[in-house]
């Protein structure tokens, strides 16, 4: 007799959404037990996911990024051959500052200039000369630069790097003729005097804001939603982050969220199919997930994902 509880693990960004769905699923389907949702990070989740097939392995891995080829290989080697990818929405990442402070309207290039250790000036990389936001751009507040960005152990950091830093650097125009290494360094070396990398969770970032009110912090959209009373959100490229702007693709700093289902467990562990359908359904879960800060994806996308899932292994 096999296990009768769905086991899920993985990304801490997906964790709250998966938890809510799990709870609602347990309540809505009296014949199934409430799935257990572990965290452990995207990598950790996929690691367990790829350990093999059977009672002792998880059924679903939550991920804030796509599975890597190396991970797929590990899966295959352990006999996990039927991996079904479900993309179910977006996570928006916002810049927010203390509610009592001035408004920020940022662009990636401004952020890049604020945090990079070396910035291009007249075609050459020089040590970052800016101390106040207003020195970067007159439209920004006359306030010392201070930023709290997610640490490298966070999935959020990837999006931040890609959509803000890399994009900003491109716009700022890195000098020609940099070696590969120099190029990478220019993109990943930040000023340690004004940039704090937060390895903990968003409460940590919030604490940093309270102790230094000049700080601009990076948060998840849902966290900001829950703490509107103390935080003030910044626009990026003139777009205010919201479910609508993210879903419409207008707000640049966002990433898709996934979970991966072990096809081989379908039919043996009860309820996996129902869980997936429930997760993607408009009526039951959509509402509460949105309330919890998930940015829904277009309905066509959902339908496509569901169809692919039901079609079985690719």
């Amino acid at each position: 007799q096999s296990r009768d509880t769905i086991q899920i693990a993985g990304s801490s960004t997906v964790l709250p959404f998966a938890s809510i769905v799990a709870e609602e699923f347990g309540a809505a389907f009296p014949e199934f037990k409430t799935p257990v949702v572990g965290s452990g990070g995207t990598g950790g989740g996929l690691k367990q996911f790829c350990e093999g097939v059977g009672d002792n392995t998880i059924d679903i891995a939550n991920a804030s990024r796509e599975i890597k080829d190396s991970e797929r290989e590990a899966c295959t080697a352990a006999g996990v051959t039927d991996i079904r990818e479900i993309q179910f929405g977006y996570d928006g990442i916002v810049f927010a500052s203390a509610a009592s402070g001035p408004d920020f309207a940022l662009t990636p290039v401004q952020v890049y200039k604020a945090i990079a250790a070396k910035v291009p000036v007249d075609g050459a990389l020089v040590d970052n000369p800016y101390t106040k936001w207003s020195e970067i751009d007159a439209s920004l507040p006359d306030q010392p630069i201070a930023l709290a960005i997610p640490g490298t152990n966070h999935g959020t950091r990837e999006v931040f790097q890609l959509e803000v830093v890399d994009a900003g650097a491109e716009e700022a125009g890195l000098p020609e003729g940099l070696t590969e290494e120099e190029h990478t360094a220019a993109l990943t070396t930040f000023r340690q005097d004004v940039v704090v990398e937060i390895s903990g969770d968003y409460t940590e970032t919030l604490a940093r804001l309270t102790s230094n009110p000049n700080t601009v912090g990076v948060f998840g959209l849902s966290f900001y939603d829950q703490n509107k009373d103390t935080l003030k959100v910044a626009t990026v490229n003139g777009i205010t982050p919201s479910n609508e702007t993210v879903a419409a693709g207008e707000y640049p700093v966002s990433r898709p969220l996934f979970f991966y289902v072990k096809g081989q467990h379908i039919g043996t562990i009860p309820g996996i199919e129902e869980y997936v359908q429930f997760f993607l359904s408009e009526s039951a879960a959509g509402g509460s997930l949105e309330a919890a800060g998930l940015i829904p994806q277009p309905e066509e996308k959902t339908a496509e994902v569901l169809a692919a899932f039901e079609a079985g292994a690719q």
Binding site: S39, N56, K228, D229, A284, A291
Partner: protein, 454 residues
């Protein structure tokens, strides 16, 4: 001799004078030293007091919770579902169960929020302007499940109106308790202006009252319905782990202490074991977490985030403590007792198990309780073996996934909802501390009783 006498007499006066001269300085430094000692005690006690007062002050508000008293009407308009299946003659048990399940799922698929909305509106002043979405933010999201469960249990409720108590949402609770500044503008509030207004109305008309938050003790963790989140799951998870620790660490620890103290020949090897055990007792707990992750999870493939693994890790962590304490207790047994037993012709094993062990039992018990209490509060190693999971169920066996009390505290502490951050966390800490203090208290009581007897 006369010589000595003549020199000592004046010397003696001189001496007394010298001694007296320095006396006041010496007494002053005595008082200063003493004062420093007293200050240290006061500082230490002050810290304890500060910590407890602070946690209690923060945690107390979490023990009250806002409840909504609603008259819920099971409107057949909304609840348009076939009547509950009745077991027909000749219908097999399995078929009936299947039909019943199907009915239940149909019931679950109904939009119960409409029922809630209707009852919320019924409690609002006539004509109060508020849209569906906003009004639903007042009740906790699990309200609809509560109502549905009532109906499933008693389908005859259809068309009737009953009084139901449901939790107000966490945001409503925050608003009522003033966790969020009431003067802030709309943009900075979690709830819309009409919702906030309605909550205030409810408060005056008695629809919302606050009461003791039993849910902290009776519910499992919840993210969908933050106001209903409780500690039961974590508590049971902790209990399972303690059970594993007690079943493993105590016998193994006591047995190895007995071996090392009573039977082991003195040799390099036993010396090594001894150093090793003393050292293990001081190895940081997180290293045991790494060990658990590498050995129990990766190598032995035990289920992740299960109390059994947590219990094993904590067992290994507690073992040295129990061994050391037990050895101390065994060492304290008077040689007279051992001689008496041996002199009677008891074998060494009989001596140990018939006489030495019973005598040391209380101190072993004390040490065990302290060791287990310590394990109970341990967090770091559990994080590394995945006990950070969100588990919305009470683990029925040690192989089920679970969290533990301290980990639950860690998780709540990092939760974005204002309800968790601080009050709920502090309340969880209070529960944990009560458990710890009870355990420690028992240990201290046993020890003092033991000391009195000794």
């Amino acid at each position: 001799m006369a010589d000595t006498l003549s020199t000592t007499a004046p010397a003696s006066n001189d001496r007394t004078r010298l001694i007296r001269a320095s006396l006041s300085r010496r007494h002053l430094s005595e008082s200063i030293f003493r004062g420093l000692g007293l200050a240290a005690i006061i500082v230490a006690l002050g810290f304890v007091a500060l910590l407890f007062v602070d946690i209690v002050r923060k945690g107390i508000p979490a023990f009250t919770q806002s409840n909504l008293h609603l008259s819920v009407t099971f409107d057949p308009e909304i609840i348009s579902v076939d009547p509950a299946p009745v077991r027909a003659a000749g219908q097999s048990e399995a078929d009936f169960q299947a039909a019943n399940l199907k009915w239940q799922r149909d019931v679950a698929m109904l939009n119960w929020n409409k029922v809630i909305e209707a009852s919320l509106r019924a409690a609002a002043p006539a004509g109060y302007e508020i849209d569906t979405r906003q009004i639903l933010t007042i009740a906790e999201t699990d309200a609809r499940h509560r109502v549905r469960e009532l109906f499933v249990k008693d389908p005859t409720l259809l068309g009737k109106t009953v009084q139901v108590d449901v939790l107000a949402s966490a945001n409503a609770d925050n608003w009522i308790k003033g966790n969020i500044n009431r003067d802030l503008g709309d943009a900075q509030q979690q709830l819309s202006a009409p919702a906030r207004g309605l909550i205030d109305q409810y408060e005056t008309n008695g629809t919302i009252t606050s009461g003791f938050a039993w849910s902290i003790f009776t519910n499992v963790d919840s993210r969908a319905a933050p106001a209903s989140a409780g500690l039961l799951g974590a508590f049971v998870g902790t209990l399972w782990m303690m059970l594993v620790v007690i079943l493993l660490a105590v016998p193994i620890g006591v047995a190895s202490a007995i071996y090392l103290e009573e039977f082991a020949p003195k040799s390099r090897l036993t010396d090594l074991i001894e150093v090793n055990i003393n050292n293990l007792a001081a190895v940081p707990s997180i290293v045991f977490g790494l060990l658990g992750a590498a050995v129990f999870i990766n190598y032995m493939h035990l289920p992740i985030s299960a109390p059994i693994v947590g219990g094993l890790v904590l067992t290994l962590m507690t073992l040295p403590t129990i061994i050391i304490a037990t050895r101390g207790a065994l060492l304290g047994v008077s040689p007279a007792l051992r001689q008496a037993a041996l002199g009677m012709g008891a074998s060494k094993t009989q001596m140990v198990f018939h006489h030495v062990l019973p005598v040391t039992f209380p101190s072993i018990l004390t040490a065990t309780i302290l060791g287990v209490a310590h394990a109970l509060g341990e967090t770091a190693p559990l994080l590394l073996i995945g006990m950070k999971a969100f588990v919305a169920a009470v683990p029925a066996t040690p192989l089920d996934q679970a969290t533990a009390l301290p980990v639950q505290i860690y998780l709540w502490q990092g939760n974005e909802n204002r309800n968790f951050f601080e009050p709920r966390t502090a309340a969880a800490i209070m529960v944990l501390l009560v458990v710890m203090i009870m355990l420690n208290g028992v240990a201290i009581y046993l020890r003092s009783k033991l000391e009195k007897r000794a």
